[in-house]
């Protein structure tokens, strides 16, 4: 029994800022005269007036422990235990609990209460962290009162080089509120150490990356896709090549969390784009132990290894989105993960017909990896609106663009074999007498994004690991 509560009597939880609480102030005074009463006041210790026992609850500990969601809440105690409660103002209920002293003559018969301060957005998780059982299983790391928690995260090696949001219990609880999945559910084993990763560990790293709780389903979907054996996350991490995970989001989830598929879609400035990609990288770093210079052996890497995530522009109903092209039903949200090496800007401001633009794009795409190497790595082609318009105006849809590009991306092997054109790099001599595709079947992923102005597109080269088609591919998963 907390101090100040009558073992046989009443407790009322109220706040001065609530019109219903001020309405029933005379009732509280009447109840105080009639018998033992304590009023727990959330925002003003001088409210209510004329009551003997007023308990200041500005830290909301008592409101939290009493599990109050609405003020006023009238609670009857008997033998030191709660036996009944009612919320808001309802004369019939108050008099049933407390008798004639709670009749509130002259007041309306009923008036709804207000939300308790203890359940305001973000407050409840803080109260759980302070006074409740968080249920969190990750071990705690103490930070001294004179230490900067962001610097403490750096010192412990938890950062990708940029500041991280310190993962406090209240932030983690808020993040876990973004998913219905249990915190102790294991999402998978994270390479390179193949360490089991729970939903709780995902939430901790999502906090550090700067995610909002509503991103959690997407972050979890991204991680599950990344752990698809066909994506070969371990190999992608430890490669000397440039590539890292590129995340493309399709479907209603992208709009719901405000992802950017428009102006500067591949650049900075959008929280969801920036932090979802970063969360994946932090999970690999922190849970999997994938550290640059350790298992990450990239010769140069690329800036996308901080984060590389965007949404597809699905505003044109004539356009078949990438996820649907890859088997996800329309209306579902999905993540596609590709082994991306970075953005290569493609400029063509002269092509006016689809045929011209396809030939031009093919010339740019030949450059992926090396102009004389084929079937050695795939690509994502990001069509910006002005380039896409050239196709659309002539009735070319996704399938037509893909087909025409594949035709344009065939070349005689004699031009590509090692030594041809005076260049040592190239295809094996066995390719000399055949036409050679630049990419594997389904190896060119076309996606729409970007701002309205600019006759540009972007080519994102893939990873040589994709050359073993049966073992390593881009993957697309529905977001649950």
């Amino acid at each position: 029994m907390p101090d100040g509560y009558p073992s046989d009597g009443f407790v009322i939880v109220a706040k001065h800022d609530c019109p219903t609480c001020t309405l029933v102030e005379p009732v509280m005074q009447s109840l105080d005269r009639a018998g033992p009463l304590a009023v727990v006041t959330q925002d003003d210790p001088s409210f209510p007036s004329g009551v003997g026992t007023v308990i200041d609850d500005h830290d909301l500990q008592r409101s939290f422990q009493l599990k109050v969601e609405t003020v006023p809440t009238l609670i009857r105690f008997k033998g030191g235990r709660e036996v009944e409660r009612t919320v808001g103002w309802d004369r019939a209920e108050w008099t049933r609990l407390a008798g004639a002293a709670a009749a509130g003559d002259g007041l309306p018969a009923w008036q709804p209460g207000c939300g308790s301060k203890s359940v305001e957005p973000g407050v409840h998780e803080t109260l759980v962290a302070r006074y409740g059982d968080t249920g969190l299983k990750a071990r705690t790391i103490a930070v001294g009162e004179w230490d900067d928690p962001i610097e403490a995260c750096f010192e412990r090696g938890w950062s990708d080089g940029l500041p991280v949001v310190p993962p406090t219990d209240e932030r983690i609880l808020r993040m876990l509120g973004g998913t219905e999945r249990r915190p102790d559910e294991i999402v998978g084993n994270i390479p390179p150490n193949l360490a089991p990763c729970t939903v709780e560990k995902v939430a901790i790293n999502a906090v550090m990356a700067g995610c909002k709780p509503e991103y959690m389903p997407v972050v979890l979907g991204v991680l599950e896709a990344a752990l698809d054996p066909l994506f070969v996350l371990h190999g992608l991490l430890c490669t000397t090549h440039f590539s890292g995970p590129l995340v493309i989001i399709n479907g209603p989830a992208a709009g719901a969390i405000g992802m950017n598929s428009g102006v500067n879609a591949l650049g900075q400035g959008n929280r969801a784009n920036a932090t979802i990609g970063r969360a994946l990288q932090l999970i690999v770093r922190n849970v999997g132990g994938g550290l640059p210079g350790g298992m990450d052996r990239a010769t140069l890497g690329n800036p996308g290894k901080y984060t590389f995530c965007f949404a597809e522009d699905e505003s044109d109903p004539d356009w078949e989105p990438l996820a649907q092209r890859r088997g996800i039903p329309a209306g579902k949200s999905a993540v596609t993960l590709f082994h991306g090496e970075g953005v290569n800007g493609f400029v063509d401001q002269k092509s006016r017909t689809p045929e011209e633009l396809v030939r031009s794009l093919a010339m740019g795409l030949f450059g992926v990896g090396h102009p004389k190497l084929c079937l050695a790595g795939n690509a994502v082609l990001v069509l910006a609106p002005e380039h896409y318009k050239i196709f659309k105006d002539c009735g070319w849809n996704r399938r037509r663009i893909e087909d025409e590009l594949y035709k344009a991306l065939k070349r005689p092997g004699s031009e590509l074999i090692r030594g041809a054109q005076g260049i040592a790099e190239g295809m094996p001599p066995s390719f000399a007498d055949r036409m050679v595709d630049k990419f594997q079947p389904d190896g060119l992923l076309i996606v729409r994004a970007g701002g309205e102005a600019g006759l540009f597109s972007a080519i994102i080269g893939g990873w040589p690991g994709q050359s073993v088609r049966d073992e390593c591919q881009a993957v697309t998963h529905e977001i649950r």
Binding site: L136, A138, R139, T140, I141, A142, V143, G144, E145, W146, D147, P149, A152, C153, E155, R156, W158, P166, P167, T168, D169, I172, I190, N193, A195, P196, C197, K201, I204, N205, M208, L282, N286, V287, G288, G289
Partner: protein, 94 residues
């Protein structure tokens, strides 16, 4: 330490929460040792003795001194020590 904040470990928790100290070098041969006088009383005597021992052992040393013992060493001094040496000894005193 007065704990002001508790964070949750984002890692797989395969290493101790207390970070391990750097292991001492297996040998000082061929290395340059910074001898840092923090400016408190008689610290220089300690440094003098160490310098003599290192000299006898054929180990190169460089001497540095904090501008004041009441504040941490300035960043440029720490960077200079790190750039010119592989090891450092900070003198205790009093």
């Amino acid at each position: 330490m007065n704990v002001a904040l508790k964070l949750r470990d984002p890692t797989a928790e395969t290493s101790p929460t207390r970070r391990a100290r750097l292991a001492p070098p297996p040998s000082v041969a061929g290395k340059s040792v910074a001898l840092m006088d923090i400016g408190k009383a008689r610290g220089s005597e300690f440094i003098d003795r160490l310098e003599g021992h290192f000299k006898k052992a054929g180990v190169a040393t460089r001497r540095y001194r904090k501008p004041t013992n009441t504040k941490v060493a300035p960043t440029d001094l720490l960077q200079k020590i790190a750039a010119e040496n592989q090891l450092a000894v900070i003198a205790l005193s009093d």
